[in-house]
């Protein structure tokens, strides 16, 4: 089984880098990018199956990036990262095509579970 290709887009560099490193330790082919623009730019190059996307970034909003990703390839599953205590923003993202959302600070086991579900969904499709 080939490793899962995953892209993390979050402006919090330390967070994105560490999460990326931890996922890599678990055999996931993860890459981290630190702005919406960068993330979209590298999309073709690495062709991820899963994108973990922060909802709030300075250059463009997570929802806009989500729309761009879905335009580029509707099969890419996106898991939204939300800093809000509110589920509302996450649900809104799901309505716009995100696979799921997870609140910061992220529980890695929970995230891995969601990644697996997303991968399952892709393989069924």
């Amino acid at each position: 089984m080939t490793s899962i290709k995953l892209l993390i887009i979050d402006d919090e560099v330390e967070f994105a880098a560490t999460l990326c490193q931890r996922l890599q330790l678990r055999g996931i082919d993860a890459t981290d990018m630190h702005s919406g623009g960068e993330g979209l730019a590298i999309l073709k190059e690495i062709a991820p199956e899963i994108v973990i996307l922060d909802l709030k970034m300075p250059d463009m909003s997570g929802l806009d990036v989500l729309a761009e990703i879905k335009k580029h390839d509707p099969d890419i599953e996106v898991i939204m990262l939300t800093g809000h205590g509110s589920a509302g923003a996450g649900i809104e993202a799901m309505e716009k095509g995100a696979f799921d959302y997870i609140m910061k600070p992220v529980d890695l086991q929970e995230l891995l579970a969601k990644i697996n579900l997303a991968v399952d969904k892709r393989s069924k499709a």
């Binding site: 919090e12 330390e14 330790l25 800093g83 205590g85 509110s86 910061k104 600070p105 992220v106």
Partner: protein, 595 residues
């Protein structure tokens, strides 16, 4: 209120300014009440006093004017009466001394007959004499031996020769009784010289005239000569033949009247002076009227003690004083009552305002603290996520590495960090939940079901702690329109607090009842330790907690408060130290009242 000019603020300080304590506030109201009393009293009493003084003054002037007028009138009447008497005497003597009588009168027998006839009409006539143009007495009849007198150089003789009539002052002379003289000069028909008929009249005659005119109105009336020597007997103010005692008394006020009179017999118009002066004599105010007689060398003096000390003036003063005092008393009473009413009104509205401010402050406090909390929570959340991930990474490395000296201890330390992160996460999530405006679902809910559900959540924890939970639910209570989840949160928060407050061994009673047609009420009562008034004041404040550090966020009750308010309800706490605490939550039934 602040626009008051400074003097008004000084008299009428706003009671709620510069309050430090309740005692200051009380003093503030007292000062306000006092200021109000002063202003109202001045406003009422000043015009009242002015009116009273004015009417006092006005009536006094009126009385004085009336008094003067009356004295003037009396004096005028008395004057004309006496003038008539004198004129009558003059005309009798003029008649006797007709031009052609001179020779007849020289005859002693004729003179005696005439005099006896005159005396029968005028008993005051004392003697009669005829004097020729040289001033020599030619004939005399009377009780004294005065024949052969020579009057040539005497003033009265020269005067009568010039003027035709002479009236003397009252004097004693060689007759030794008070008397006066009327002399008339006539032209001799043959010789071209004049002769004089002189009649001496008893002073008592004059006294009789004065007695005739004296009225009860005047206190004294008498005649004086030009130098103010009394010609008749004054009753109080001097002696006959002496200067009147009033002569030396200083005038305090003087009034002159010029009177034009027509002397009836002479048909000549003459002006007569009349003067009324006020004097202060032996402590009494007196009015002295003096009038010149037109046909005699005398002045008529009329004295009147001042009216002002009479009954009318006293009665008026009494009445005025009574009216003034009763008006003052009534207005003071009314002012005190009005002042009390206004101050009480002010106190009440201040209290209402205070209460309103306290009520209005709570949601406001919640809103601003909520915004602050959300901001802080959001900012903290990101570094928290980083700590979380970094720790996770270190844990990953630790797991992958071989055993080393402190591997176990390091693992525990990392777990401790993760636990703390977890705690922080809960806090930030609650803070953010506190701040957000979640949409309210509006569904029909049975409040009894919700209360039972709350207890299902907590039953285990309660039973661990030997806490008995009982229900007193009204089975016929109306269903309400509200958000099920948030209602659960409300009751859960309070019941949870009750369990924490009791600690071990106790009872919680959850009851519901229909408050009225529009409201239901749920009350949650515990028999825990209760709360002091101090604590009760702050229980709905965010971050206020009595639980030990780490156990409570201090947000539970403020979230509860916010939710109840959002539903249009009311939450109150009744608590007493040592007896327990009861929360009463009133919620509206209708849909509309929540929107």
């Amino acid at each position: 209120m602040k626009e008051h000019s400074s003097w008004l603020t000084k008299i009428l300080p706003a009671p709620s300014d510069n309050i430090i304590s309740g005692a200051d506030l009380d003093r503030g109201y007292k000062n306000f009440s006092r200021g109000l009393f002063v202003i109202l009293t001045v406003l009422v009493l000043v015009p009242l006093t002015i009116i009273t003084l004015l009417s006092h003054q006005q009536y006094k002037q009126l009385l004085q004017q009336k008094e003067l007028d009356q004295l003037f009138l009396n004096l005028e009447q008395a004057q004309s009466t006496i003038e008539e008497f004198v004129a009558e005497l003059q005309s009798v003597i003029k008649f006797v001394a007709r031009d052609d009588h001179y020779l007849e009168l020289l005859n002693p027998k004729e003179l005696q007959d005439l005099f006896v006839r005159l005396q029968s009409e005028y008993p005051g006539f004392v003697d009669i004499e005829v004097i020729d143009s040289e001033g020599m007495q030619k004939a005399y009849f009377g009780p004294y031996q005065l024949e052969g007198h020579k009057y040539t150089d005497q003033t009265w003789y020269r005067e009568v020769m010039l003027r035709g009539v002479y009236i003397s002052n009252v004097f004693s002379g060689f007759r030794n009784v008070p008397h006066f003289v009327i002399a008339v000069s006539r032209k001799h028909p043959q010789q071209k010289a004049s002769w004089v008929l002189r009649v001496t009249i008893d002073g008592q005659t004059l006294q009789n005239y004065v007695d005739t005119v004296s009225t009860t109105y005047a206190d004294d009336i008498f005649l004086v000569d030009q130098s103010f020597t009394a010609q008749t007997r004054p009753q109080k103010y001097g002696k006959i033949g002496e200067k009147s005692v009033l002569y030396d008394v200083r005038d305090t006020e003087k009034k002159n009247f010029r009177k034009r009179v027509v002397e009836r017999y002479m048909m000549v118009q003459k002006a007569s002076d009349m003067m009324i002066v006020k004097k202060s004599f032996q402590g009494r105010q007196i009015l002295q009227g003096v009038s010149d007689l037109t046909n005699a060398p005398w002045k008529l003096v009329m004295v009147k003690e001042q009216y002002l000390y009479a009954d009318a003036w006293f009665a008026f003063k009494m009445r005025l004083t009574t009216i003034f005092l009763s008006c003052t008393i009534v207005s003071l009473f009314v002012i005190v009552e009005i002042g009390k009413a206004i101050t009480n009104h002010l106190r009440e509205s201040d209290m209402k305002r205070e209460q309103f401010l306290v009520e209005a402050e709570q949601p406001n406090k919640l809103a601003s603290i909520g915004r602050l909390a959300a901001g802080v929570a959001h900012e903290i959340n990101n570094p928290l996520a980083i700590i979380n991930q970094k720790t996770g990474l270190v844990q990953d490395f630790l797991e992958m590495s071989d055993d080393f000296a402190y591997k176990g201890a390091m693992g525990e330390a990392l777990n401790g960090i993760q636990n703390s992160v977890e705690r922080c996460k809960k806090i930030t999530h609650r803070l953010l939940g506190f701040a957000r405006h979640a949409d309210v679902v509006n569904e029909e809910v049975d409040i009894n079901v919700i209360v039972r559900e709350v207890v299902d959540f907590l039953a285990k924890e309660a039973s661990y702690n030997q806490i008995k939970i009982t229900f007193a639910l009204d089975p016929d209570i109306s269903k309400i329109y509200s958000d099920r989840g948030q209602l659960l949160q409300i009751f859960l928060n309070i019941t949870n607090n009750a369990i924490d407050a009791i600690g071990r061994n106790g009872e919680i009673v959850l009851s519901s009842r229909q408050l009225d047609e529009k409201n239901v009420q749920v009350s949650i009562a515990d028999n825990g330790p209760g709360m002091s008034a101090q604590v009760q004041q702050h229980i709905f404040d965010p971050f206020f907690t009595t639980k030990e550090t780490g156990k409570g966020t201090g947000l539970g009750l403020s979230i509860t408060y916010g939710l109840v308010k959002k539903f249009g309800g009311k939450i109150i706490v009744i608590s007493e130290v040592g007896k327990g605490t009861t929360f009463e939550i009133t919620l509206p039934i209708t849909k509309s009242s929540q929107e």
